[in-house]
Symmetry: C2
Subunit: 218 residues, 2 copies
């Protein structure tokens, strides 16, 4: 669905990106995140240190990317994939909750690592901003091409902002409880938090849908 440039080149690029992600996560888990320099990651991935910064613009980005994977694209696909007769608000909220609900433990130790270091927490939260553009496209598609393109972008940006609020809150309480009690990961509350922060946006999503839907008739 997305293969603009020819094959071999893109293939190698993804391989390098993946190698960097894997190396970054492995080294961070082995030695602790503060004892890993960019040069180490590059060396472990078999590329030049300069090349690292062609793929990731900060040291933390590779580690977080290894955990989050391609969540943004999956969220957008999930929104587009919901049946057309459910409300936009419900479609968006459920799609997001689904994607952020832990599927097994793809990196439970990695999450614990992220919650520990402030820099990694910030990067993890900021990474959620990447859902904005794909989500904007998905919402625009649901609203139909008649509606204002700007509306979709505003709604997507608002949803992304709400998600970031939820993640911040989640990481904060998580970090607090792991210092007081002891190393607990209350992952169960994340879906609830997401629903809570997304709820206030429901009226805006519904209104946009109603307005777009009213276009063809009358």
């Amino acid at each position: 669905m997305e293969t603009r440039p020819t094959g071999l080149r893109e293939q190698k690029k993804q391989a390098t990106r993946e190698a960097l992600r894997a190396a970054a996560l492995r080294l961070a888990l082995e030695r602790g995140p503060d004892n890993v320099r960019v040069d180490d990651i590059a060396e472990a991935a078999g590329v030049s240190p300069r090349t690292y910064n062609n793929y990731f613009s900060s040291r933390e980005q590779a580690i977080v990317a290894a955990v989050t994977g391609e969540r943004e694209a999956r969220v957008a696909a999930a929104v587009a994939g919901r049946p057309a007769d459910v409300g936009l608000a419900e479609a968006v909220i459920e799609a997001i909750v689904d994607q952020y609900t832990d599927p097994g433990q793809p990196g439970c130790d990695a999450l614990l690592l992220i919650t520990t270091r402030p820099a990694l927490r910030d990067e993890f939260v900021d990474a959620a901003a990447a859902i904005e553009h794909p989500l904007s496209d998905a919402i625009a598609q649901r609203l139909g091409h008649t509606g204002r393109h700007t509306t979709a972008r505003v709604l997507a940006a608002s949803v992304a902002a709400a998600v970031r609020l939820a993640l911040r809150e989640w990481l904060q309480t998580t970090a607090a409880s792991s210092t007081t009690s002891g190393l607990v990961l209350p992952s169960g509350s994340l879906p609830d938090l997401l629903r809570t922060t997304l709820a206030p946006l429901t009226p805006a999503l519904d209104a946009a849908e109603r307005q777009a839907g009213r276009r063809p008739p009358q």
Copy 2:
């Protein structure tokens, strides 16, 4: 209203901050933004280079701060100051439009400088994120202490996101037109852009207000 620490200390801090802002803007206008190093700004302000980074965490921040001033606080104050009988949505939108409507030309040449350099544009847009917390407090106050505190934060974050979208669009078209035609600053369209991006959030703001208002009765 806000003088937690004793006077003289805070006074000097603000003086230093202002000196850095002024020096940064002046030098950027004189030599062009790329020919100004952090050391130059610090020297012009009479402080150590290291001290600069105690006040601003990036080189661009001081320049942008010199232009934007304390806009965040004024937005929050403007929201709080609107009469209680106008809708929340209207209060927020009008307050923001007012504050972003150019009052004379406090830095027309400075704006031209900012639109030129991508790094400064980014910093200018990101600076709008600072309205989030003050605005959150102002909205919470209008919703009354009975409402969910989270709702106010989500709405404030969404509004901030919408504002950033408007600014981005504005700077983009501005930059485009200054290369094609010649150095035009279509500042007149900013209010319209802001209303357009904020409009989709009106239903959410109204709904929150209705829900909070329904608390005391019934």
